[in-house]
């Protein structure tokens, strides 16, 4: 799904280039305080309630300690980050309206081409703001809303306010509070009752500035009996200093509806990726997270599903690849808040060249939730002796009438597997790829063709060398 002007060197991060920042519309000073937060709100021309929401969230952020579990966050200097960078004045509805430099970047990333070929709508965020947003006319006519979250606040204020921060309130965790204070961009999706969006909607996120913080906020409401598949991808230039990406994604899946949210995260290895993603699934509804983490320095992300009413089903498929200097702390959480609910978590992680993966998961069954079924499977594959994998599964089961299964395996790409494949003429490199591709097959087969190809390709690039 991407085209590039040149093929990458072995193991080179393909999207590490950056554009000039000349002609940027606005760049806040570094650091974070109430003045910056108020400035962001004023620049966006927001209503008072949103400014107050932001300032209240800032206070929460400042009052909460930095998490000490998961990955090492001690090196993040929150005062050394640009919290708001606006490259362009407006959101284009066609690519011609996007500034040439930025359009060129998205061309290199293959986004307009993908849109023409197999997407129903595309959002493209560059730095803090969405620079392009478009949805197919027929979907628009059926009442499907797919706009930037900033525009949703302006164009659909009532709908927006009804759901905003209802799934993840600012005091949920320190980074959710940070996002709530300085959020900018992201997608807002509303699918009316019974409407099925058969072709995926996609958003693409790009950081360009060094020491940049990107804080998009996505809110998806899938009304009764509706269906949507939303896909996000992301890349950033390779810099020697760190950037921060801290998104919040809230999803409400109403009765009988289904939502699938697919992420292929490929940040450069200087990005801290600390994301809170949560969905509420109501009666007979299905929520599926397909979460692929390949890039970043440290990712902490545990997409969760709250099963609110009987018959709800939650599924999390997580695949993580950690190369040299990377730590992928990923997994998923399911809260069974109602009886007769079911869930499944499948996690596949690969560590190579000293990389580290952790599976962190939670299955929680509330006291009244009878007849609950849940199955967790996490498999880790180690490519060499230097790499590391850990599993942190948590079960909080407060009802006896449940069926919970948990399986975990750690395997090494064994000499025996490689020898077996090589004894059939397959080179060591091809044999390694084959073993890895086989390992993630259960997840890849769930993806639409284009994304399956992309995920395989990204993993093959990672396997060809340590990522820079």
């Amino acid at each position: 799904m991407t085209t590039a002007t040149k093929l990458p060197e072995k193991g080179e991060y393909k999207w590490g280039f950056h554009d000039s920042q000349e002609g940027y519309a606005f760049k806040s000073r570094k650091g974070l305080d109430s003045e910056i937060v108020a400035q962001i709100s004023a620049l966006k021309g927001e209503p008072d309630w949103m400014r107050e929401f932001r300032l209240k969230s800032l206070a929460i952020f400042q009052s909460k300690p930095i998490p000490r579990w998961g990955g090492d966050l001690s090196h993040i200097d929150f005062d050394d980050i640009y919290y708001y960078v606006k490259a362009s004045e407006k959101t284009g509805k066609s690519w011609d309206e996007v500034p040439a430099d930025i359009k060129r970047t998205f061309d290199r990333l293959g986004i307009p081409e993908a849109e023409r070929k197999f997407l129903a709508g595309v959002g493209a965020q560059y730095e803090s703001e969405v620079v392009y947003h478009s949805i197919r006319e027929d979907l628009k006519k059926q009442g499907v809303i797919f706009v930037s979250t900033d525009n949703a606040l302006k164009e659909y204020p009532d709908l927006f306010k009804e759901y905003w921060a209802t799934v993840i309130p600012p005091d949920d965790n320190k980074l959710a509070a940070l996002n709530s204070a300085v959020w900018s961009g992201g997608s807002f999706i509303y699918v009316p009752p019974g409407v099925k969006v058969e072709i995926p909607l996609q958003a693409y996120f790009r950081i360009n500035t060094e020491n940049m913080g990107q804080f998009e906020r996505t809110l998806i409401v899938v009304d009764e009996g509706a269906y949507v598949h939303y896909v996000e991808g992301c890349t950033a230039p390779t810099y020697s200093t760190d950037s921060l990406h801290s998104a919040v994604v809230e999803i409400i899946v109403k009765r009988g509806a289904r939502c699938r949210y697919t992420t292929i995260q490929n940040w450069s290895s200087n990005v801290y990726n600390l994301v809170t993603k949560r969905a509420q699934a109501y009666g007979e509804a299905t929520m599926e997270w397909v979460d692929g983490n390949l890039g970043s320095k440290l990712t902490m992300k545990y997409p969760s599903v709250y099963l609110m009413e009987p018959g709800a089903h939650g599924e999390i498929l997580s695949v993580a690849f950690a190369g040299k200097g990377q730590h992928q702390d990923a997994g998923g959480k399911v809260v069974h808040a109602a009886p007769h609910t079911t869930s499944q978590i499948i996690s596949k992680s690969i560590s190579k060249g000293g990389g580290r993966t952790s599976y962190r998961g939670l299955i929680k069954v509330l006291p009244d939730a009878e007849d609950v079924k849940s199955h967790v499977r996490c498999d880790a594959l180690l490519m060499d002796e230097d790499s590391r994998s850990d599993t942190y599964p948590t079960m909080e089961i407060d009802n006896e009438r449940v069926s919970i299964g948990h399986e975990a395996t750690v395997s090494k790409v064994g000499d025996d597997q490689l020898f077996y494949l090589m004894s059939r003429g397959i080179s060591e490199e091809a044999a390694t790829k084959m073993v890895v591709n086989g390992f993630i097959e259960p997840i890849v087969k769930e993806l639409p063709m284009e994304y399956a190809v992309e995920l395989n390709r990204l993993i093959e690039l990672q396997l060809e060398g340590s990522v820079g």
Partner: protein, 264 residues
């Protein structure tokens, strides 16, 4: 008894004074063996005699270190080659314990292997036809190709899958490491039939086995007894029957009576 082997041409496989160690322990202690095209050699011996070591060393498993002697394939030493290079030259090993490769289908695996061995992309249609023919030949169920390599295979299915790979890749030298072990009599017959069907005058087979019974179905030209890291006795097909009747002890005693260093 020996079929013509093209006078003057190099033997398919020539093993000379081969010493092999595994994790510092010497397992093979000067093995000599020649296999010519069109010949079937059976290597028999008690458990722990080094039979699997010989098989894995010919294929080039990195765990098995050649500390002395040589392995020549069509006149060229292959000791320095990796397993995939050997396979591309026509060497094949049917494994005693084939490894499972989860998530990789047989058909995908076989196509990659065939492309690698042939050194060129085989058109998908040609490959499909070839696979279908070989599956029919070996009476392998069609559903096989969609299954993951060796995953959840029964003992018999694993061995049949090895035969299928051999049929598709058409190696010049096939080493079969206890392909008969763990098979019931019907499966054994099928495997033996497979070997007989695949054997052609340009090919050589080294059949490593613990039991004589497969030799009721596959007739070897030569039988060798490998014990204590060496080939202690060689003979014709009748030697296998003698072993069946008398066991291995008499050969070990015979060998002990010989002066040190003499092994034939």
């Amino acid at each position: 008894m020996t079929p013509s082997s093209g006078n003057g041409t190099a033997p398919l496989l020539q093993i000379e004074a081969l010493h092999v160690s595994v994790e510092g322990k010497e397992i093979l202690k000067g093995v000599n063996l020649i296999v010519r095209q069109g010949e079937v050699h059976a290597v028999m011996g008690p458990n722990g005699s080094g039979k699997s070591t010989l098989a894995n060393t010919i294929m080039g498993h990195p765990k098995y270190q050649v500390t002395g002697g040589d392995i020549r394939y069509l006149g060229q030493s292959i000791v320095g080659l990796k397993a995939d290079q050997r396979a591309r030259q026509g060497v094949f090993l049917a494994f005693q314990y084939p490894t499972a490769i989860p998530g990789v289908t047989m058909v995908n695996f076989l196509r990659h292997a065939l492309n690698a061995v042939r050194g060129q992309e085989v058109p998908v249609k040609d490959f499909r036809n070839l696979l279908r023919d070989k599956m029919t030949l070996l009476k392998v169920d069609r559903s096989f190709s969609a299954r993951y390599v060796n995953e959840g295979f029964s003992g018999g299915e694993k061995k049949r899958a090895e035969m299928l790979q051999m049929a598709v890749l058409e190696p010049k030298l096939a080493v079969l490491d206890e392909t008969d072990s763990g098979l019931d009599i019907d499966a054994l017959k099928t495997v033996a039939e497979g070997i007989n069907t695949l054997l052609n005058p340009a090919q050589g087979i080294l059949l490593i086995t613990h039991y004589q019974r497969i030799l009721n179905y596959v007739k070897p030209h030569f039988v060798h007894v490998l014990a204590q890291g060496n080939i202690l006795k060689s003979g014709g097909a009748e030697l296998a029957l003698e072993l069946e009747a008398k066991g291995y002890d008499w050969i070990l005693k015979e060998a002990a009576a010989l002066p040190q260093g003499v092994s034939q």
